[in-house]
Amino acid sequence: MIEVHGLTKRYGEVLAVNDLNFSVRPGEVTGFLGPNGAGKSTTMRMILGLDAPTSGTATVGGRPVAEHPVPLKAVGALLDASAVLSSRSAYHHLLALAASNGLPRSRVDTVLEEVGLSNVARRAAGTYSLGMRQRLGIAGALLGDPPVLVLDEPLNGLDPEGIVWIRRLMRRMAAEGRAVMMSSHLMSEVELTVDRLVVVGRGRLIADTGMAEFIASVASQEVVVRTPQAVPFAGRLAAVGAAVRTTAGDGNDDGTGLVVTGLEAARIGALAAATGVELHELAPRQTSLEEAFMELTRDSVEYTTEAEAA
C-alpha cells in the first residue's frame, strides 16, 4: 500500500509535483499516467525516499521507506532500467543489493531464474540488451519479495515479447496480493494491464479512477444520425432527454448530421421507426482510450495555464 498526501516538489520555478493525493492498493495494478514531464518519476522518487518532498508525505506500508527495518522487503523498485555498472556482472549487482539488506544469496539465484537471466548472470552487464537490463532491474525489484512494487516506465523500449512478459508479471504480482504501481506516458501501454488509473498532468492529479469506470465513461459516447427530417427528429430526441447538436464543425463534415449523446443507437433507431423518420446513417462514434486520455490531459494543461494566469 502506497499513500501519498499533499505531495509537492518544487525545482526552482518548476512545480514538478503539485499537491498530489492518491493511494496504490494491494491486489491491484495502478497505472500512473501522464504526458512526459508530468511529474511521474519525481513522484516515484519521493515515494522511494530518493528525493525529499518540498511538502507533503509519501508512505509505503504506513511509514516512510527509510523506516522499514529491511527496505527491500517493503518495496521493490525499477526506476532506471539502464542503471547498472557496465563492468559488473548481473549476479554481483544483485548480490550487493541482497547483502545490503541481509537477504540470503539464494534470493539472487531465485530472482535471476525468475527473470530468465540465470545463463548470462556472470557476464558484465554492459553487454546486455535493453530488454535484458530491464529484466535485471525487475530482478532487483523482486529481491526482497516485497508487497509493493514501483516501476517507472517498465515497458519503455521493450520488444513485444518483453512487453507481454512484464504485463503478465505485473498481473501475477497483483493477483498475489501485492500493490503494483507502474508509470507510463501512453494509455495504450496500460489499458490492458491496470485496474486503476491515476492520471497526472503538470504535477497535478487529473483523475483517480478504476479502469472499468474510465472505459465506461468514455463509452458513454456519441451517435451520429443522418436523416432528411433532421429538424423535427432533433426535437423528438430532445423530448426524450437526449442532447443533440449538429455535426457542423466536426472536421470536414458537411454539417447535415446530428450528434446525439445520452441515448443508445438502438433506442434512436426504435424512435425513428416509431415516428416514421427515414434514417440514412446511424453510427456510434467510439472515442479511443488514447483520445480520451489526451483529452483529459490537454484539459489539465489548459486549466493549469488559466490558473497561473489568474
Binding site: D51, V70, V75, L85, A96, S100, G102, E176, G177
Partner: protein, 297 residues
C-alpha cells in the same frame, strides 16, 4: 512467483528462526540473513560495499598501479640518485634524503588511491546505480560510512605495501649504486613507511569525499589531479607568500612530509604535516557526509 511462493513467504514471516544461516566464504560470514524479525544493519552495508568495490574493474588496476608506482619509482629514483650523489657538492650531500628518495612513488600513489576513492562513488552516479543502492538502503549515512570503511580496508594494506615495497626496493638500489641508504631499523624509517601508508589511506578517503560532493567522474578526476599533483608542483611559482604558504600547508604537500628524512626548516615536520592532511580529510568527509544525506539522489 507462484501462489506457493507467497505462502512460503508468509510462513517465513512467522518463523524466521527456522532458517539457519548457511556458512559462506569471506570474512563477514557470521552475519545472519535478515529475517522478517531482523533488520538490515551497518554490517550488511559493509558486505554490500565490499562486493561493490571488489567487483569494480578499476579497483584491481588501481591496487596494481599503486604497488608498481611505489616500487618502480623507488628503483628508478634510487639508481639515478647514485650517479647524482657522486656529482653533488658537500652542501648538497647534507640534504640528500635516502628515505624520501625511496618513497617518491607516494606522490603518484596518492593520486591513484584518491582516484579509487573517487570512483567508489562517482561510478554509482555515472551509472545511476546510486538509485538502487539508496532504494535498498535509504539510510544514507550508513552507505557513506560503509563505503569509507571498505575503501580504507583496501587502501590501508595497499598503501602500507606500497611504502614498504618502495622503501625496500629503493634502499637496495641506493646501496648498490653507492649512495647513502638507510635500513628499516634506522631512525625515522618505520615512521616513513607506516606513516606513508596512512597518508596514502587518507588520500583515498579524500578522493571519496571529493567524489561524493562532485558526483561527476570526469570532474572528480580533474579535481584530484589538480589537488595532489598540479598544485604542489606549481606552488613554488605562486606569487610571494602564497608560494611559501601553499608549499608548507597545502594538505597533500604537508602530509607528504611524513616520508622525508631531511628536515627542511621552511616545511612542516612529518607528524604536524600529516595532521594537516588528516584534519583536511576529516573536514571534507564530514562535509561530504552531510551533503550526501540532504541532497536528492
Amino acid at each position: 512467483m507462484s501462489q506457493g511462493t507467497v505462502d512460503s513467504r508468509r510462513t517465513r514471516l512467522k518463523r524466521p528462526a527456522k532458517r539457519p544461516a548457511k556458512p559462506r566464504r569471506g570474512s563477514l560470514r557470521t552475519v545472519p540473513p535478515a529475517g522478517a524479525a531482523g533488520r538490515a544493519t551497518f554490517v550488511h552495508s559493509l558486505r554490500a560495499e565490499w562486493i561493490r568495490l571488489r567487483t569494480m574493474r578499476a579497483t584491481l588496476y588501481v591496487v596494481v598501479a599503486t604497488l608498481v608506482a611505489g616500487a618502480g619509482l623507488a628503483t628508478l629514483n634510487g639508481s639515478s640518485a647514485g650517479d647524482e650523489y657522486a656529482a653533488m657538492s658537500a652542501a648538497d650531500r647534507l640534504m640528500f634524503d635516502p628515505l624520501a628518495t625511496s618513497l617518491k612513488g607516494v606522490i603518484l600513489a596518492q593520486l591513484t588511491l584518491a582516484l579509487l576513492g573517487g570512483l567508489a562513488i562517482t561510478s554509482e552516479y555515472g551509472s545511476r546505480t546510486i538509485v538502487s543502492t539508496l532504494t535498498a538502503v535509504p539510510r544514507r549515512g550508513r552507505v557513506v560510512v560503509a563505503k569509507a570503511v571498505v575503501l580504507t580496508a583496501i587502501a590501508l594494506p595497499t598503501g602500507m605495501l606500497t611504502t614498504l615495497g618502495g622503501f625496500l626496493a629503493g634502499q637496495s638500489v641506493l646501496e648498490s649504486s653507492g649512495a647513502p641508504y638507510v635500513a628499516l631499523g634506522d631512525p625515522g624509517a618505520w615512521r616513513a613507511v607506516l606513516g606513508g601508508g596512512l597518508f596514502l589511506t587518507l588520500a583515498a578517503v579524500l578522493g571519496l569525499a571529493a567524489g561524493i560532493m562532485i558526483r561527476s567522474t570526469t570532474a572528480t578526476v580533474t579535481t584530484l589531479f589538480a589537488t595532489t599533483l598540479i598544485v604542489p608542483a606549481l606552488a613554488p611559482s605562486f606569487p610571494g607568500t602564497l608560494a611559501n604558504w601553499t608549499t608548507k600547508f597545502w594538505p597533500p604537500s604537508a602530509g607528504g612530509q611524513i616520508v622525508t628524512g631531511y628536515r627542511d626548516p621552511d616545511l612542516l615536520n612529518p607528524w604536524p604535516g600529516f595532521t594537516v592532511m588528516g584534519g583536511c580529510v576529516v573536514v571534507l568527509l564530514t562535509a561530504a557526509f552531510l551533503t550526501f544525506r540532504r541532497r536528492d539522489a
